[in-house]
Amino acid sequence: MIKIHMELKKLEITARKDIKSAKNLKDLDDIFKKYLGKKGELTLILRSLKNLPIKERKTQGKIANQIKKDLELIIQEQKHKLQASSFKIQDTGFDITVPGKKQDLGHLHPLTLVRRKVEEIFQSMGFSVVEGPEVESEWYNFDALNIPKEHPARDLWDTFYLKQKKLLLRTHTSPVQIRYMEKNQPPLRIIVPGRVFRHEATDAGHEVNFYHIEGLMIDKKGKVSVANFKAIIGEFFKRFFEKEIKIRLRPSYFPFTEPSFEIDINCVNCLGKGCSVCAQTGWVETLGAGMVHPNVLKAVGLNPKFWQGFAFGVGMDRLAIMKYKIQDIRLFYGGDLRFLQQF
């Protein structure tokens, strides 16, 4: 009885030593066979136990089985170790500098990206996104916006006219202000992104079609002021460029707002120090705005005695140009994939 016990102990010690010293999988396999195979040493001992009295058999069996389990476990561990090290050896020729396999991902247009960002910021401030037609009537594009016929102010907008029925291509998305106010009661807050058209020669800064975002907020008299506009627009620029941006308001003139102003922002390129982008002034003109002219409110049947608000218009192309430091607006409409696939 003691003999068996001793034998088991001894066997376990030598087996463990053998396993640990196995150099490769083949050795390990031989060791497995030697101890745990059909005719393995441990197997034979286990088999011989059946000749012992029942009580003895139980205690010794328990010990022998435990040893068997332990050995199996460390053989498994040793096997993993050997496998891992064999991988290492095989992989000496592995070259991480080989270029990755290119995946064909698509690209959204930079103006789509800018539009999404602008929409997201204004939506978070309670503005709804509204769209309107690109072909407009003179009424919506001009008259309702307090730009009468034969008025020199109309020259501010170089306009494409259609051969049909006194229609034109909208020169701004402001007509949608009118369309929206005709159908919705204030208080209201909207932004209107969309394509607009100008009849002018193209160059790095001008295109025949480009994108505008118009904003409009109307509320009860005394509830929405120039000070409120400054806060909203300041917050917009801060979030759009993801940094503190200084803004300044300068006097301007638009027939549909009174007072009117131009909004300059600190040049994003030089942060106001002065560079070629901002003609050394440190400021870039980005936005036209003002308090909605009473005549515009009247044109949609709102009484200026009870309602007031602000409106603004910003060129999306210009925002994109500043954000991505693009030199030429024409790149947006040229369909050059070398440009578009950078976004």
């Binding site: 709804s128 072909v135 049909q164 409120n228 007072p259 578009l340």
Partner: protein
Amino acid sequence: MIFSYNWLQSYFKKKLPKPEKLAEILTMRSFEIEEVKKTGKDWRLDIDILPNRAPDCFSHIGIAREISAITGLNYQDSSLILGENISRPNGKTKDFVSIEIKDKIACSRYTARVITDVKVGESPKYIKERLKVCGLQLINNVVDAANYVMLETGQPMHAFDLDKISGKKIIVRKAKKGEKIITLDNNKYDLAQDILIIADEKSPLAIAGIKGGKNAEIDNKTKTIVLEAANFEAKTIRKARQKLKLQTDASLRFEHCLDINLTEQAINRAACLIQEIAGGKITQGLVDFYVKKVLPKTIKLDVAYVEQLLGVKISKKEVIKILKSLGLNPAKSGIKLKILNIEIPTFRLDLSIQEDLIEEIGRIYGYERIKPVFPLAVLIPPKRNIDCFWQKKVKNILKETGFTEVYNYSFVNEKDISVYQSNKHKTAVIELENPLSAEQRYLRPCLISNLLKNIQKNQKLFNEIKIFELGKVFRSGIKTGVEEKRMLTGILTGDDMFYQTKGIIDSLLNKLGISNVLYNNCKELIHCSQKCAEIKINGKGIGILGEISAEILAQLDIEKKVCVFAIDFEKLQKHCSEEIMYQPISLYPSAVRDLAVLVPREIKVVDVLNKINIAGKKLVRDVALFDIYEGEEIQEGKKNFAFHIIYQAENRTLTSKEIDIIQDKIIKTLEKDPEWEVRK
């Protein structure tokens, strides 16, 4: 418009801020200064006068008034001279010249003065210098003086040689048919009948408000001159200027309207200046046609509204101070009330409602002094724009499929139209009245043509191109004149892209929650007749897909094969759904069996699929086509389809015996047709 810094300085006793500093102040309070440029001892200021301020600020006096209001420095309007006081009467003006106004709407005021015994010669140095800085040509002392006064006061003036005026009579009338004029710069103009002219009894002397003529030109021998300061209707001048394509310093000012009361001040100033620099005697009195005298108006200003609109508290005292600095005076009587009556001088044509006054207060006070404050508004969540939502979703899906989004011009040319349009469609194309170039003469009726140009441009640089655009197209409509709708169009290059394109459409529609998609044969002009399909949802056509024909590709120098899809986005959107219904995953394993069937060439996959599905019933979960083969090793006129059939039950594990039975059933069904042969 160009202004002279030294000239502006001449109205002030105290020193003005340095030119750059002055430019900055004006930019922030009045008008943007485009450029400050040193010229000799002077500086040119290029000031971008806002169009509504042209009547009072297309003049050095006007800018001096602005500077005074902003800086608080006093200015002296040296043009305010009473002509009578200095003149040495030499007879009455009306005895020298008479005027007749035939069109009292186009010419609401005409003021004339006569100076005798002038000596035409060179202008003095200061006048020459100032005119030169402002970019005007020097002519002679008389003409220079008239121009000088225009730049000073904003009132365009003209000088005629009285001795050259036939009948000593000035007539203001519309041109007669066939009348012509040779202008001072020796250009000949045919005068249309609605152009206003200044004439004598015989012929035109000047194009009213635009340019003088040769007939009564001032020359070295001129002794007696007639000065004109008039007020012409803006609309009339604007039309004439456009018609003649002739813009001048005078027309620019008239087009923007002028203070009708300015003629008198300007003509007196000019007469004195001419007398000063060219000698001569001013005759007594004005000849003045002025029917309806315009008086200053009054605007009521609610002081509380100033704060409501600007969002900053400005005391009543400061409000009054600002207005006064601009020459806008509150009536004394009501000064203690909440509503002020502000008297508006006639030169401020831009001011008509109290918001106009609040703008004046705001800008002089300084917009930078208004602190930003977030509005206290009712919390109304923004409305969801479902249109924009689907646009965004569609763009995202295509991007995930590897497409690059492009934005093309909304315009196309004649050739584009003829390539893509049948004659029937051509009439529906929208043409521009004033295209910028022949390249952009029409509004795009589809997105394909410009996308193909993108392919042409990029084909050398990229092996495979996948691009799309989501944008508006235009056609003439019966009801609205123009029918405008959004199209989704994509293009892929490569051989045999039809099925890949179809797969993309399938995934796109699937992601948009659309099932019940069907593809029908269709013959669109731009496609190869065979490889083209109409896409239908619930039986309604929403678009097409197909290969572009070889002829069109050749015309456009496109070397690759191109497959296109064009979907009417407005129609597509109606079928989109955000709902996703979860299908329970079967707990029991599935089994795959392959099946290859040899069929006649004209048989379509859908025919085989239908038979398999009908025979296999519910236990066939999916059938996937993995190969189509025709060619060698196969009987002519036949082709081979190979499918994976996936069997699965919802409530049990299928035994292989069960599967064998169904598979046999399917094979038998397929082989009912003697032309079909399942390959074992």
